[in-house]
Amino acid sequence: MSALTIAAQDCATMLAREIKHSLRLARLLMVSAILVPVVMLLLFDYILGGTIGRGLGAAARGAPYVDFLVPGIIMMAVAGGCGPTAINVTVDMTGGFIDRIRTMAVTRGALLAGHVGGNVLRTLVATAAVTGMALLVGFRPKASVADWFAVVGIVAAFSFALAWLSAAIGLIAKSVAGANGSTLPLAFLLPFLSSTLVPVDSMPAGVRWFAANQPFTAVVDSLRALLTGAPIGNSAYLAVAWCAAIALAGYLWSQAAFRRGTR
Protein backbone atom coordinates (compact mmCIF):
# COMPACT_ATOMS: atom_id res chain seq x y z
CA MET A 1 0.00 0.00 0.00
CA SER A 2 1.28 3.44 -0.82
CA ALA A 3 1.40 6.16 1.78
CA LEU A 4 -1.48 7.91 0.06
CA THR A 5 -3.75 4.84 0.11
CA ILE A 6 -2.96 4.35 3.79
CA ALA A 7 -3.71 8.00 4.52
CA ALA A 8 -7.04 7.76 2.66
CA GLN A 9 -7.86 4.54 4.50
CA ASP A 10 -7.08 6.08 7.90
CA CYS A 11 -9.23 9.11 7.14
CA ALA A 12 -12.09 6.85 6.01
CA THR A 13 -11.78 4.80 9.23
CA MET A 14 -11.93 7.94 11.35
CA LEU A 15 -14.84 9.35 9.34
CA ALA A 16 -16.75 6.09 9.77
CA ARG A 17 -16.09 6.32 13.52
CA GLU A 18 -17.38 9.90 13.63
CA ILE A 19 -20.51 8.97 11.66
CA LYS A 20 -21.16 6.10 14.08
CA HIS A 21 -20.73 8.52 16.99
CA SER A 22 -23.19 10.96 15.40
CA LEU A 23 -25.78 8.25 14.89
CA ARG A 24 -25.43 7.14 18.52
CA LEU A 25 -25.87 10.74 19.69
CA ALA A 26 -28.48 11.55 17.03
CA ARG A 27 -31.17 12.73 19.42
CA LEU A 28 -28.80 15.02 21.27
CA LEU A 29 -27.30 16.38 18.06
CA MET A 30 -30.71 17.03 16.56
CA VAL A 31 -31.45 19.51 19.32
CA SER A 32 -28.34 21.60 18.74
CA ALA A 33 -28.11 21.19 14.98
CA ILE A 34 -31.76 21.36 13.88
CA LEU A 35 -34.01 22.40 16.75
CA VAL A 36 -32.04 25.52 17.72
CA PRO A 37 -31.99 27.00 14.17
CA VAL A 38 -35.66 26.08 13.70
CA VAL A 39 -36.60 27.81 16.94
CA MET A 40 -34.60 30.87 15.85
CA LEU A 41 -36.42 30.78 12.52
CA LEU A 42 -39.85 30.66 14.15
CA LEU A 43 -38.88 33.23 16.78
CA PHE A 44 -37.58 35.76 14.29
CA ASP A 45 -40.20 35.11 11.65
CA TYR A 46 -43.40 34.97 13.72
CA ILE A 47 -42.58 36.95 16.83
CA LEU A 48 -40.00 39.56 15.92
CA GLY A 49 -40.40 39.43 12.16
CA GLY A 50 -43.29 41.87 11.87
CA THR A 51 -41.37 44.85 13.18
CA ILE A 52 -38.05 43.82 11.69
CA GLY A 53 -39.69 43.19 8.32
CA ARG A 54 -41.28 46.64 8.25
CA GLY A 55 -37.88 48.18 9.05
CA LEU A 56 -36.03 46.31 6.31
CA GLY A 57 -36.95 48.79 3.60
CA ALA A 58 -35.13 48.26 0.32
CA ALA A 59 -33.17 45.28 1.67
CA ALA A 60 -36.41 43.25 1.69
CA ARG A 61 -36.76 43.73 -2.06
CA GLY A 62 -40.55 43.62 -1.68
CA ALA A 63 -40.56 40.11 -0.20
CA PRO A 64 -41.64 39.09 3.33
CA TYR A 65 -38.98 39.05 6.10
CA VAL A 66 -38.81 35.25 6.01
CA ASP A 67 -37.06 35.39 2.62
CA PHE A 68 -34.42 37.70 4.06
CA LEU A 69 -34.16 35.62 7.26
CA VAL A 70 -33.80 32.05 5.96
CA PRO A 71 -30.32 32.37 4.37
CA GLY A 72 -29.16 33.73 7.75
CA ILE A 73 -30.78 30.84 9.61
CA ILE A 74 -29.07 28.38 7.24
CA MET A 75 -25.75 30.02 8.05
CA MET A 76 -26.53 29.78 11.77
CA ALA A 77 -27.21 26.07 11.32
CA VAL A 78 -23.71 25.80 9.83
CA ALA A 79 -22.17 27.75 12.70
CA GLY A 80 -24.10 25.62 15.20
CA GLY A 81 -21.92 22.68 14.18
CA CYS A 82 -18.88 24.23 15.86
CA GLY A 83 -19.87 23.21 19.39
CA PRO A 84 -20.32 19.46 18.76
CA THR A 85 -17.04 19.21 16.83
CA ALA A 86 -15.06 21.03 19.52
CA ILE A 87 -16.70 18.87 22.20
CA ASN A 88 -16.01 15.62 20.33
CA VAL A 89 -12.36 16.55 19.86
CA THR A 90 -12.01 17.51 23.54
CA VAL A 91 -13.55 14.20 24.60
CA ASP A 92 -10.95 12.39 22.48
CA MET A 93 -8.20 14.53 23.93
CA THR A 94 -9.11 14.32 27.61
CA GLY A 95 -10.21 10.67 27.38
CA GLY A 96 -6.79 9.58 26.16
CA PHE A 97 -7.95 8.46 22.71
CA ILE A 98 -5.75 11.01 20.96
CA ASP A 99 -2.73 9.88 22.97
CA ARG A 100 -3.48 6.31 21.95
CA ILE A 101 -3.61 7.30 18.30
CA ARG A 102 -0.41 9.31 18.64
CA THR A 103 1.48 6.22 19.82
CA MET A 104 0.25 4.25 16.79
CA ALA A 105 1.48 4.33 13.22
CA VAL A 106 -1.70 6.09 12.11
CA THR A 107 -1.66 8.91 9.56
CA ARG A 108 -1.29 12.20 11.43
CA GLY A 109 -4.36 14.28 10.87
CA ALA A 110 -6.67 11.37 10.04
CA LEU A 111 -8.50 11.67 13.33
CA LEU A 112 -9.18 15.39 12.87
CA ALA A 113 -10.10 14.85 9.22
CA GLY A 114 -12.72 12.38 10.47
CA HIS A 115 -14.09 14.98 12.87
CA VAL A 116 -14.17 17.64 10.15
CA GLY A 117 -15.78 15.29 7.62
CA GLY A 118 -18.38 14.30 10.19
CA ASN A 119 -19.13 17.97 10.83
CA VAL A 120 -19.67 18.66 7.10
CA LEU A 121 -22.01 15.67 6.73
CA ARG A 122 -23.99 16.60 9.86
CA THR A 123 -24.24 20.20 8.67
CA LEU A 124 -25.55 19.16 5.25
CA VAL A 125 -28.26 17.06 6.93
CA ALA A 126 -29.11 19.83 9.41
CA THR A 127 -29.26 22.60 6.80
CA ALA A 128 -31.45 20.43 4.57
CA ALA A 129 -33.85 19.89 7.47
CA VAL A 130 -33.83 23.59 8.37
CA THR A 131 -34.45 24.55 4.72
CA GLY A 132 -37.36 22.09 4.59
CA MET A 133 -38.85 23.70 7.67
CA ALA A 134 -38.32 27.14 6.15
CA LEU A 135 -40.28 26.11 3.03
CA LEU A 136 -43.12 24.99 5.31
CA VAL A 137 -43.34 28.37 7.02
CA GLY A 138 -43.47 30.26 3.74
CA PHE A 139 -39.91 30.70 2.47
CA ARG A 140 -40.06 31.08 -1.30
CA PRO A 141 -36.58 30.73 -2.85
CA LYS A 142 -35.94 31.94 -6.39
CA ALA A 143 -32.80 29.84 -6.88
CA SER A 144 -32.07 27.91 -10.05
CA VAL A 145 -30.62 24.37 -9.93
CA ALA A 146 -27.14 25.82 -10.43
CA ASP A 147 -27.79 28.28 -7.57
CA TRP A 148 -28.80 25.40 -5.28
CA PHE A 149 -25.55 23.60 -6.09
CA ALA A 150 -23.65 26.76 -5.28
CA VAL A 151 -25.56 27.05 -1.97
CA VAL A 152 -24.64 23.47 -1.06
CA GLY A 153 -21.05 24.23 -2.02
CA ILE A 154 -20.85 27.33 0.18
CA VAL A 155 -22.55 25.56 3.09
CA ALA A 156 -20.06 22.66 2.79
CA ALA A 157 -17.06 24.97 2.43
CA PHE A 158 -18.07 27.16 5.37
CA SER A 159 -18.75 24.17 7.60
CA PHE A 160 -15.41 22.65 6.53
CA ALA A 161 -13.62 25.87 7.49
CA LEU A 162 -15.38 26.34 10.83
CA ALA A 163 -14.86 22.64 11.64
CA TRP A 164 -11.04 22.93 11.40
CA LEU A 165 -11.21 25.97 13.65
CA SER A 166 -13.48 24.09 16.07
CA ALA A 167 -11.11 21.10 16.05
CA ALA A 168 -8.25 23.37 17.11
CA ILE A 169 -10.44 24.91 19.83
CA GLY A 170 -11.33 21.39 20.99
CA LEU A 171 -7.68 20.38 21.14
CA ILE A 172 -6.59 23.26 23.34
CA ALA A 173 -9.66 23.19 25.62
CA LYS A 174 -9.08 21.76 29.07
CA SER A 175 -12.63 20.46 29.47
CA VAL A 176 -15.80 19.76 27.51
CA ALA A 177 -17.52 22.78 29.04
CA GLY A 178 -14.57 24.95 28.06
CA ALA A 179 -14.66 23.63 24.50
CA ASN A 180 -18.34 24.41 24.18
CA GLY A 181 -17.96 27.86 25.70
CA SER A 182 -15.08 28.76 23.40
CA THR A 183 -17.17 28.09 20.30
CA LEU A 184 -20.06 30.31 21.40
CA PRO A 185 -18.59 33.45 19.78
CA LEU A 186 -18.48 31.53 16.51
CA ALA A 187 -21.94 30.07 16.86
CA PHE A 188 -23.77 33.13 18.22
CA LEU A 189 -21.86 36.36 18.58
CA LEU A 190 -20.40 36.62 15.08
CA PRO A 191 -23.70 35.68 13.38
CA PHE A 192 -25.52 38.45 15.28
CA LEU A 193 -22.82 40.95 14.34
CA SER A 194 -23.33 40.26 10.65
CA SER A 195 -26.07 40.54 8.04
CA THR A 196 -27.65 37.31 9.33
CA LEU A 197 -30.82 38.87 10.77
CA VAL A 198 -30.78 42.49 9.65
CA PRO A 199 -28.85 44.48 7.01
CA VAL A 200 -25.56 45.82 8.37
CA ASP A 201 -26.53 49.38 7.25
CA SER A 202 -28.98 49.51 10.16
CA MET A 203 -26.25 48.93 12.77
CA PRO A 204 -24.44 51.61 14.84
CA ALA A 205 -21.46 53.06 13.00
CA GLY A 206 -18.70 51.33 15.01
CA VAL A 207 -20.24 47.88 14.65
CA ARG A 208 -21.25 48.50 11.05
CA TRP A 209 -17.72 48.50 9.69
CA PHE A 210 -16.87 45.29 11.53
CA ALA A 211 -20.13 43.61 10.52
CA ALA A 212 -19.75 44.57 6.88
CA ASN A 213 -16.26 43.14 6.64
CA GLN A 214 -16.41 39.94 8.66
CA PRO A 215 -16.66 36.46 7.12
CA PHE A 216 -20.19 35.63 8.29
CA THR A 217 -21.58 38.60 6.36
CA ALA A 218 -19.84 37.50 3.17
CA VAL A 219 -21.26 33.98 3.58
CA VAL A 220 -24.80 35.11 4.41
CA ASP A 221 -24.84 37.70 1.63
CA SER A 222 -23.78 35.12 -0.95
CA LEU A 223 -26.34 32.58 0.29
CA ARG A 224 -29.02 35.29 0.25
CA ALA A 225 -28.11 36.36 -3.25
CA LEU A 226 -28.17 32.78 -4.54
CA LEU A 227 -31.44 31.88 -2.81
CA THR A 228 -33.48 35.06 -3.23
CA GLY A 229 -32.00 36.63 -6.32
CA ALA A 230 -30.53 39.62 -4.46
CA PRO A 231 -27.50 41.16 -6.19
CA ILE A 232 -24.52 38.95 -5.43
CA GLY A 233 -21.75 41.53 -5.93
CA ASN A 234 -18.40 40.11 -4.90
CA SER A 235 -19.83 38.35 -1.82
CA ALA A 236 -19.44 34.86 -3.32
CA TYR A 237 -15.73 35.41 -4.02
CA LEU A 238 -15.30 36.91 -0.58
CA ALA A 239 -17.13 33.98 1.03
CA VAL A 240 -14.94 31.45 -0.77
CA ALA A 241 -11.79 33.38 0.14
CA TRP A 242 -12.84 33.59 3.79
CA CYS A 243 -13.62 29.85 3.84
CA ALA A 244 -10.20 29.06 2.42
CA ALA A 245 -8.43 31.37 4.86
CA ILE A 246 -10.33 30.10 7.93
CA ALA A 247 -9.85 26.49 6.87
CA LEU A 248 -6.12 26.97 6.38
CA ALA A 249 -5.67 28.80 9.69
CA GLY A 250 -7.78 26.21 11.54
CA TYR A 251 -5.93 23.36 9.87
CA LEU A 252 -2.46 24.68 10.74
CA TRP A 253 -3.51 25.54 14.28
CA SER A 254 -5.08 22.13 14.89
CA GLN A 255 -2.10 20.25 13.41
CA ALA A 256 0.23 22.10 15.76
CA ALA A 257 -2.04 21.42 18.75
CA PHE A 258 -2.37 17.74 17.77
CA ARG A 259 1.41 17.32 17.56
CA ARG A 260 1.80 18.94 20.96
CA GLY A 261 -0.73 16.55 22.47
CA THR A 262 -1.64 16.62 26.13
CA ARG A 263 1.94 17.09 27.40
Binding site: M1, Q9, T13, F97, D99, R100, T103, A105, T262
Partner: protein, 318 residues
Protein backbone atom coordinates in the same frame (compact mmCIF):
# COMPACT_ATOMS: atom_id res chain seq x y z
CA UNK B 1 24.09 -20.51 21.29
CA UNK B 2 20.81 -21.35 23.01
CA UNK B 3 17.67 -19.27 22.96
CA UNK B 4 18.20 -17.85 26.41
CA UNK B 5 21.62 -16.34 25.83
CA UNK B 6 20.56 -15.03 22.46
CA UNK B 7 17.71 -13.40 24.30
CA UNK B 8 19.89 -11.65 26.76
CA UNK B 9 22.12 -10.15 24.11
CA UNK B 10 19.33 -8.23 22.37
CA UNK B 11 18.26 -4.91 23.74
CA UNK B 12 14.66 -3.69 23.57
CA UNK B 13 15.22 -0.27 25.12
CA UNK B 14 18.48 1.58 25.54
CA UNK B 15 18.31 5.00 27.13
CA UNK B 16 21.22 7.24 28.05
CA UNK B 17 21.22 10.62 29.72
CA UNK B 18 17.50 11.22 29.36
CA UNK B 19 16.34 14.61 30.59
CA UNK B 20 13.06 16.46 30.68
CA UNK B 21 12.13 19.69 32.38
CA UNK B 22 9.00 21.80 32.39
CA UNK B 23 10.27 25.31 32.92
CA UNK B 24 12.50 25.21 35.98
CA UNK B 25 11.04 21.95 37.21
CA UNK B 26 13.23 18.99 36.24
CA UNK B 27 11.05 15.89 35.92
CA UNK B 28 13.55 13.46 34.42
CA UNK B 29 17.14 13.92 35.46
CA UNK B 30 19.86 12.02 33.60
CA UNK B 31 18.17 8.64 33.40
CA UNK B 32 19.90 5.60 31.89
CA UNK B 33 17.99 2.42 31.20
CA UNK B 34 18.72 -0.85 29.47
CA UNK B 35 15.92 -3.34 29.01
CA UNK B 36 16.54 -6.69 27.35
CA UNK B 37 14.13 -8.20 24.87
CA UNK B 38 11.53 -10.42 26.55
CA UNK B 39 12.16 -8.81 29.91
CA UNK B 40 9.58 -7.32 32.28
CA UNK B 41 11.07 -4.13 33.62
CA UNK B 42 9.35 -2.16 36.36
CA UNK B 43 9.76 1.53 37.10
CA UNK B 44 8.86 1.84 40.74
CA UNK B 45 8.23 5.15 42.41
CA UNK B 46 5.70 7.41 44.10
CA UNK B 47 3.44 9.88 42.31
CA UNK B 48 5.46 12.60 40.66
CA UNK B 49 8.67 10.56 40.48
CA UNK B 50 8.65 10.81 36.67
CA UNK B 51 7.44 7.31 35.75
CA UNK B 52 4.71 8.46 33.41
CA UNK B 53 6.99 11.06 31.82
CA UNK B 54 9.49 8.34 30.91
CA UNK B 55 6.69 6.26 29.37
CA UNK B 56 5.40 9.27 27.45
CA UNK B 57 8.86 10.01 26.08
CA UNK B 58 9.62 6.42 25.09
CA UNK B 59 6.21 5.98 23.47
CA UNK B 60 6.85 9.05 21.22
CA UNK B 61 4.21 11.25 22.88
CA UNK B 62 6.58 13.96 24.08
CA UNK B 63 10.15 14.81 23.14
CA UNK B 64 12.99 14.59 25.65
CA UNK B 65 15.13 17.67 26.26
CA UNK B 66 18.36 15.70 26.11
CA UNK B 67 19.66 12.18 25.88
CA UNK B 68 19.36 9.38 23.38
CA UNK B 69 16.95 6.49 23.25
CA UNK B 70 16.78 3.40 21.07
CA UNK B 71 13.50 1.51 21.13
CA UNK B 72 13.53 -1.91 19.47
CA UNK B 73 16.70 -0.75 17.69
CA UNK B 74 14.98 2.33 16.23
CA UNK B 75 16.13 5.79 17.12
CA UNK B 76 13.34 7.45 19.07
CA UNK B 77 14.01 10.89 17.65
CA UNK B 78 14.67 10.06 14.01
CA UNK B 79 12.47 7.01 13.54
CA UNK B 80 9.40 7.75 15.66
CA UNK B 81 7.11 6.29 12.98
CA UNK B 82 8.94 2.95 13.05
CA UNK B 83 8.90 2.95 16.85
CA UNK B 84 5.11 3.43 16.80
CA UNK B 85 4.81 0.34 14.60
CA UNK B 86 6.29 -1.98 17.24
CA UNK B 87 5.01 -0.59 20.54
CA UNK B 88 1.73 -0.71 22.39
CA UNK B 89 0.73 1.65 25.18
CA UNK B 90 -1.84 1.24 27.91
CA UNK B 91 -1.98 4.34 30.02
CA UNK B 92 -3.19 5.14 33.48
CA UNK B 93 -6.64 6.08 32.27
CA UNK B 94 -8.50 3.74 29.97
CA UNK B 95 -8.26 5.20 26.48
CA UNK B 96 -11.26 3.44 25.05
CA UNK B 97 -13.95 4.92 22.82
CA UNK B 98 -16.97 5.23 25.09
CA UNK B 99 -19.48 5.45 22.26
CA UNK B 100 -18.35 2.26 20.55
CA UNK B 101 -18.97 -1.25 21.85
CA UNK B 102 -16.06 -3.37 23.04
CA UNK B 103 -16.08 -5.25 19.78
CA UNK B 104 -16.18 -2.05 17.72
CA UNK B 105 -13.29 -0.63 19.74
CA UNK B 106 -11.14 -3.63 18.82
CA UNK B 107 -12.29 -3.48 15.20
CA UNK B 108 -11.36 0.20 15.07
CA UNK B 109 -7.84 -0.63 16.27
CA UNK B 110 -7.62 -3.38 13.66
CA UNK B 111 -8.57 -0.92 10.92
CA UNK B 112 -6.06 1.65 12.11
CA UNK B 113 -3.41 -1.07 12.11
CA UNK B 114 -4.43 -1.89 8.51
CA UNK B 115 -5.19 -5.53 9.28
CA UNK B 116 -7.14 -7.42 6.69
CA UNK B 117 -10.83 -8.02 7.42
CA UNK B 118 -10.40 -11.74 8.13
CA UNK B 119 -7.51 -11.17 10.49
CA UNK B 120 -9.31 -8.27 12.15
CA UNK B 121 -12.31 -10.43 12.93
CA UNK B 122 -10.23 -13.39 14.07
CA UNK B 123 -8.09 -11.23 16.34
CA UNK B 124 -11.15 -9.43 17.78
CA UNK B 125 -12.82 -12.74 18.66
CA UNK B 126 -9.60 -14.10 20.12
CA UNK B 127 -8.95 -11.06 22.31
CA UNK B 128 -12.55 -10.82 23.53
CA UNK B 129 -12.33 -14.44 24.66
CA UNK B 130 -8.91 -14.08 26.20
CA UNK B 131 -9.89 -11.00 28.19
CA UNK B 132 -13.23 -12.40 29.28
CA UNK B 133 -15.21 -9.75 27.41
CA UNK B 134 -17.34 -11.95 25.16
CA UNK B 135 -20.57 -11.20 27.00
CA UNK B 136 -19.85 -7.48 27.08
CA UNK B 137 -18.66 -7.37 23.47
CA UNK B 138 -21.82 -5.68 22.19
CA UNK B 139 -22.07 -3.17 25.02
CA UNK B 140 -20.39 0.21 25.28
CA UNK B 141 -17.74 0.69 27.99
CA UNK B 142 -20.20 2.89 29.91
CA UNK B 143 -21.61 -0.34 31.34
CA UNK B 144 -18.18 -1.82 32.15
CA UNK B 145 -16.48 -2.04 35.54
CA UNK B 146 -13.08 -0.43 36.03
CA UNK B 147 -11.37 -3.78 35.58
CA UNK B 148 -13.26 -4.54 32.37
CA UNK B 149 -12.39 -1.15 30.92
CA UNK B 150 -8.73 -1.73 31.70
CA UNK B 151 -8.90 -5.17 30.08
CA UNK B 152 -10.51 -3.75 26.95
CA UNK B 153 -7.83 -1.06 26.86
CA UNK B 154 -5.09 -3.68 27.05
CA UNK B 155 -6.83 -5.83 24.44
CA UNK B 156 -6.87 -2.81 22.11
CA UNK B 157 -3.16 -2.36 22.73
CA UNK B 158 -2.49 -6.01 21.87
CA UNK B 159 -4.50 -5.91 18.64
CA UNK B 160 -1.37 -5.13 16.63
CA UNK B 161 0.87 -7.69 18.40
CA UNK B 162 3.32 -5.09 19.70
CA UNK B 163 6.80 -6.32 20.60
CA UNK B 164 7.20 -3.78 23.39
CA UNK B 165 4.33 -2.89 25.68
CA UNK B 166 4.20 0.06 28.02
CA UNK B 167 1.90 -0.47 30.97
CA UNK B 168 1.54 2.75 32.92
CA UNK B 169 0.19 1.88 36.37
CA UNK B 170 -1.95 -0.95 35.01
CA UNK B 171 -3.65 -1.72 38.32
CA UNK B 172 -3.96 1.68 39.97
CA UNK B 173 -7.53 2.18 41.10
CA UNK B 174 -8.55 -1.46 40.57
CA UNK B 175 -10.13 -3.62 43.25
CA UNK B 176 -8.03 -6.55 44.54
CA UNK B 177 -9.70 -9.14 42.34
CA UNK B 178 -9.31 -7.09 39.16
CA UNK B 179 -5.70 -6.53 40.13
CA UNK B 180 -5.13 -10.29 40.39
CA UNK B 181 -6.73 -10.78 36.95
CA UNK B 182 -4.51 -8.07 35.51
CA UNK B 183 -1.39 -9.68 36.99
CA UNK B 184 -2.43 -13.00 35.49
CA UNK B 185 -2.83 -11.35 32.09
CA UNK B 186 0.56 -9.66 32.31
CA UNK B 187 2.26 -12.92 33.27
CA UNK B 188 0.70 -14.58 30.24
CA UNK B 189 2.00 -11.81 28.00
CA UNK B 190 5.52 -12.54 29.17
CA UNK B 191 5.26 -16.06 27.81
CA UNK B 192 4.60 -14.61 24.36
CA UNK B 193 8.04 -13.11 24.27
CA UNK B 194 7.00 -9.48 24.42
CA UNK B 195 9.02 -6.95 26.35
CA UNK B 196 7.13 -5.04 29.03
CA UNK B 197 7.94 -1.73 30.64
CA UNK B 198 5.67 -1.41 33.62
CA UNK B 199 5.29 1.48 36.02
CA UNK B 200 3.87 1.02 39.47
CA UNK B 201 3.69 2.53 42.93
CA UNK B 202 3.42 -0.90 44.51
CA UNK B 203 6.52 -2.83 45.51
CA UNK B 204 4.36 -5.95 45.69
CA UNK B 205 3.34 -5.52 42.07
CA UNK B 206 6.88 -4.99 40.82
CA UNK B 207 8.00 -7.94 42.93
CA UNK B 208 5.29 -10.18 41.43
CA UNK B 209 5.77 -9.25 37.82
CA UNK B 210 9.17 -7.80 37.10
CA UNK B 211 12.49 -9.37 36.22
CA UNK B 212 14.21 -6.13 37.07
CA UNK B 213 13.17 -3.00 38.92
CA UNK B 214 14.43 0.55 38.76
CA UNK B 215 13.44 2.75 41.68
CA UNK B 216 12.68 6.28 40.58
CA UNK B 217 12.70 9.28 42.89
CA UNK B 218 12.43 12.91 41.82
CA UNK B 219 13.28 12.01 38.24
CA UNK B 220 16.39 10.01 39.10
CA UNK B 221 16.99 6.30 39.25
CA UNK B 222 18.14 5.69 42.81
CA UNK B 223 18.40 1.90 42.70
CA UNK B 224 18.20 -0.82 40.13
CA UNK B 225 18.27 -4.60 40.25
CA UNK B 226 16.26 -7.77 40.49
CA UNK B 227 13.53 -7.82 43.14
CA UNK B 228 15.78 -10.03 45.29
CA UNK B 229 18.70 -7.65 45.03
CA UNK B 230 16.53 -4.73 46.03
CA UNK B 231 14.91 -6.49 48.91
CA UNK B 232 18.31 -7.36 50.31
CA UNK B 233 18.93 -3.63 50.60
CA UNK B 234 15.73 -3.06 52.52
CA UNK B 235 15.61 -3.51 56.28
CA UNK B 236 13.75 -6.75 56.84
CA UNK B 237 10.34 -7.27 58.28
CA UNK B 238 10.01 -6.43 61.92
CA UNK B 239 7.68 -6.56 64.84
CA UNK B 240 6.70 -3.35 66.52
CA UNK B 241 6.01 -3.61 70.25
CA UNK B 242 4.60 -0.65 72.16
CA UNK B 243 4.67 -0.38 75.93
CA UNK B 244 2.80 1.57 78.57
CA UNK B 245 5.87 2.96 80.35
CA UNK B 246 9.63 3.32 80.17
CA UNK B 247 10.23 0.58 82.72
CA UNK B 248 8.45 -2.04 80.61
CA UNK B 249 10.35 -0.88 77.55
CA UNK B 250 13.66 -1.19 79.36
CA UNK B 251 12.79 -4.66 80.58
CA UNK B 252 11.74 -5.76 77.08
CA UNK B 253 14.91 -4.31 75.55
CA UNK B 254 16.95 -6.43 77.98
CA UNK B 255 15.02 -9.57 76.99
CA UNK B 256 15.30 -8.83 73.28
CA UNK B 257 18.73 -7.23 72.72
CA UNK B 258 18.44 -7.45 68.89
CA UNK B 259 15.63 -4.89 68.99
CA UNK B 260 15.87 -1.15 68.33
CA UNK B 261 14.50 1.13 71.05
CA UNK B 262 12.52 4.28 70.55
CA UNK B 263 12.26 5.82 74.02
CA UNK B 264 10.07 8.67 72.92
CA UNK B 265 7.34 6.49 71.47
CA UNK B 266 7.96 3.66 73.94
CA UNK B 267 8.44 1.33 71.02
CA UNK B 268 10.78 -1.60 70.43
CA UNK B 269 11.33 -2.83 66.87
CA UNK B 270 12.41 -6.46 66.69
CA UNK B 271 13.57 -8.06 63.43
CA UNK B 272 11.25 -10.86 62.45
CA UNK B 273 11.13 -13.05 59.36
CA UNK B 274 7.39 -12.98 59.69
CA UNK B 275 6.58 -16.58 60.58
CA UNK B 276 4.41 -17.70 63.49
CA UNK B 277 7.39 -19.55 64.94
CA UNK B 278 9.54 -16.45 65.25
CA UNK B 279 6.60 -14.47 66.62
CA UNK B 280 6.02 -17.12 69.29
CA UNK B 281 9.74 -17.17 70.02
CA UNK B 282 9.89 -13.44 70.58
CA UNK B 283 6.85 -13.47 72.86
CA UNK B 284 8.24 -16.39 74.83
CA UNK B 285 11.52 -14.59 75.41
CA UNK B 286 9.63 -11.51 76.49
CA UNK B 287 7.96 -13.55 79.23
CA UNK B 288 4.62 -13.03 80.97
CA UNK B 289 5.59 -10.12 83.20
CA UNK B 290 6.14 -7.42 80.60
CA UNK B 291 2.85 -5.84 79.51
CA UNK B 292 2.73 -5.13 75.79
CA UNK B 293 0.25 -2.41 74.94
CA UNK B 294 0.24 -3.00 71.22
CA UNK B 295 1.87 -5.33 68.72
CA UNK B 296 2.02 -4.95 64.96
CA UNK B 297 3.85 -6.84 62.23
CA UNK B 298 5.62 -4.67 59.70
CA UNK B 299 6.46 -5.93 56.19
CA UNK B 300 8.69 -3.90 53.86
CA UNK B 301 6.91 -1.55 51.49
CA UNK B 302 7.81 1.17 49.08
CA UNK B 303 8.62 3.50 51.96
CA UNK B 304 11.24 1.10 53.18
CA UNK B 305 12.75 0.80 49.72
CA UNK B 306 13.00 4.54 49.55
CA UNK B 307 14.34 4.81 53.02
CA UNK B 308 16.96 2.24 52.20
CA UNK B 309 18.08 3.68 48.87
CA UNK B 310 17.65 7.42 49.38
CA UNK B 311 18.06 7.76 53.10
CA UNK B 312 14.77 9.62 53.41
CA UNK B 313 11.21 8.48 53.23
CA UNK B 314 9.37 9.12 49.99
CA UNK B 315 6.32 10.48 51.73
CA UNK B 316 5.22 11.36 55.20
CA UNK B 317 4.92 8.31 57.35
CA UNK B 318 1.53 8.06 58.93
Amino acid sequence: MNALTKHATRTAVLVTGLRKAYGAKVVIDDVDLEIGEGEVFALLGPNGAGKTTIVRILSTLIPADAGTAMVMSYDLRGEAGAVRGVIGVTGQFSAVDDLLTGEENLDLMGRLLHLRATERRARTTELLERFDLVEAARQTPATYSGGMKRRLDLAMTLMGRPRLIFLDEPTTGLDPRSRQTMWQIIRELVREDVTILLTTQYLEEADHLADRIAVLDHGRIVAEGTPEELKRRIPGAHMRLRFADAASLAEAARALPEGTRDDEELVLRVPNEGGIRSLRDVLARLGDDVVVEDLSIHTPDLDDVFFAVTGNASREKS
